[in-house]
């Protein structure tokens, strides 16, 4: 408990007062989840700060998620520049679509992390989000990428973040192709930013 409070305190100072953010090396999935929840809770929920983006991007596997969202076959057809551009746009979409929601729920609720299970190179962290009278079980899916544990999806009951994203993106990408899809994503991100 004390360790957790101390880490939150240090993180709060680092996030909002310093320009240098140290790389916190987490060895367990629980720690990564706890760190991400702390970051989202501490954000003020208004404008996305660069520090927050860097901190979350460090523990969310955006490139892998971007690849899964359009499928491996489509991904392999892209050159490095296109992959980079697509991943950046994909990240922006997640930020505008989910960050404010995650901030609201994590800051008002209480996440109780239960246990974690390792299956091959993936780690599943079970947790319960308690918010007033409601309790939701959340399963966080993490993967070890280049020696770091990163979030690749999260599931709430039968709903899964990655499946939701694939459903949103894949069909449209197949129909529009890379260039038109990027334009659509860009426009969609701008609209979301205006709404927020």
């Amino acid at each position: 408990m004390f360790k957790q409070l101390l880490r939150s305190f240090i993180l709060l100072i680092l996030l909002f007062n310093c320009n240098i953010i140290p790389v916190l090396a987490f060895t367990t999935g629980k720690e990564v989840v706890d760190h991400l929840v702390t970051v989202f809770s501490m954000w003020n929920g208004n404008q996305l700060q660069t520090k927050l983006r860097i901190e979350t991007a460090r523990y969310i596997a955006y490139q892998l998620m971007a690849k899964e969202s359009i499928g491996s076959i489509n991904w392999e057809k892209l050159n490095n520049n296109q992959k980079y551009k697509y991943t950046a746009n994909f990240e922006k979409m997640i930020e505008s679509k989910f960050y404010p929601r995650w901030h609201k729920l994590f800051s008002k609720g209480k996440l109780v992390i239960n246990n974690e299970i390792k299956v091959d190179d993936e780690i599943y962290v079970k947790s319960i989000l308690k918010l007033n009278n409601e309790s939701d079980e959340i399963i966080w899916k993490l993967k070890n990428i280049d020696g770091e544990l990163k979030l690749i999806s999260l599931a709430l009951g039968e709903k899964d973040l990655m499946n939701k994203l694939i459903h949103l993106i894949k069909k449209r990408y197949d129909k529009l192709g890379y260039d038109k899809f990027i334009k659509w994503l860009d426009k969609s991100n701008s609209n979301n930013a205006e709404t927020e």
């Binding site: 989910f98 409601e134 939701d136 709430l156 973040l161």
Partner: protein, 340 residues
């Protein structure tokens, strides 16, 4: 003309009754069409993080009661303490709003749907729902504002036809016009004088009714003062001429009253005052676009709400109806004059 105006000023009760009729139609019919307000509406939002309650309260359509227990909320719905219950669920991946109604009152269900759609799609930015609404020409007016111009057009019909019909048939049966119409150009003078007097009288009643009802019910009258005056006069002239033609054909007050009343109600329903013309069948749309009340209503909307309408076209159609009706009335009376 002078005689008519003097007669009008000598009958204050008739004047008051006409204004009362105008107020009642604009206020009560307007209320009915604009829909229910302050409906007791239950909201169960266990997370307490959506601002739906605030947005629903802001619309006068709902009076929100917040529940912390879903079962109690459902019980209250079953006992008619609330007309509907919204269950807001916000989770990490999506938001859902489930609306539960008692289900025995389709009229209330429609009102709830309309009110909720407006709140959820336009005001509630903190809920991410897959429905959005947008407008090509966004206007800042309520349903009440929107129906009032149509009711003003209907009032033009009621006031003009009532005034011209009754006075014309009385004068004709009392033979007070006999001496006037038998002199050269007498008939033309009587027609012009009567139509203009009725147009003026009925217009004054409508303006007074609109001003009083606007204060009572709080709808938008707009800033286009001269536009409202112009449209009222043209509409009144058109309906006075039509009323005159009917008076010449129907001859007796009893038949005239019955016919004009039935026609008025039919015209109101067919001319897009209650249900938009675009939502009616092709036949009804055709009827609406052939008859003058639709154009009068459109012109009133243009001047009162400043919405894009084909103003010139509307006025031309109303004038064509006025000239045609007046010509028919003249021909009919010319025949009667010959008999006299």
């Amino acid at each position: 003309m002078k005689k008519d105006i003097v007669q009008w000023t000598r009958r204050p009760m008739y004047f008051m009754a006409s204004i009362l009729l105008g107020i009642l139609i604009i206020a009560v019919v307007g209320n009915t069409i604009a829909g229910a307000t302050h409906m007791p509406f239950g909201l169960y939002d266990p997370s307490h993080i959506s601002s739906l309650s605030k947005h629903l309260d802001q619309t006068s359509r709902f009076q929100v009661i917040n529940y912390n227990n879903f079962d109690i909320a459902k019980e209250d719905l079953a006992h008619h303490k609330i007309v509907a219950l919204a269950y807001v669920n916000q989770n990490l991946l999506e938001d859902t709003v489930e609306i539960i109604t008692e289900g025995n009152n389709p009229l209330i269900d429609d009102q709830i749907s309309m009110g909720l759609l407006a709140v959820l799609t336009q005001k509630s930015s903190d809920l991410s729902l897959p429905i959005k609404s947008a407008s090509l020409f966004p206007g800042n007016f309520t349903l009440r504002d929107f129906v009032t111009p149509g009711l003003a057009a209907y009032m033009c019909y009621v006031l003009a036809s009532m005034n011209i019909g009754f006075s014309w048939i009385y004068e004709w049966t009392d033979k007070t016009y006999r001496q006037i119409i038998l002199v050269p150009n007498g008939l033309k003078s009587v027609l012009i004088a009567k139509s203009l007097t009725v147009t003026f009288e009925a217009s004054v009643i409508l303006w007074l009714s609109l001003c009083i009802t606007s204060l009572l019910c709080g709808f938008t009258l707009g800033n286009n003062f001269w536009g409202i005056i112009f449209v009222t006069i043209i509409s009144m002239l058109c309906f006075s001429s039509i009323g005159l033609t009917f008076a010449c054909i129907l001859k007796t007050i009893r038949v005239y009253t019955m016919t004009v009343t039935i026609l008025g109600v039919s015209l109101m329903f067919v001319s897009g005052i209650i249900i938009p013309v675009e939502a009616t069948s092709y036949g009804e749309q055709l009827a609406a676009k052939l008859l003058p009340m639709y154009y009068s209503s459109e012109a009133f909307k243009g001047v009162m709400l400043n919405v894009p309408v084909n103003f010139t076209y509307d006025i031309i159609v109303l004038l064509i109806w006025a000239v045609l009706s007046m010509s028919i009335a003249y021909m009919l009376l010319n025949k009667k004059q010959a008999v006299l």
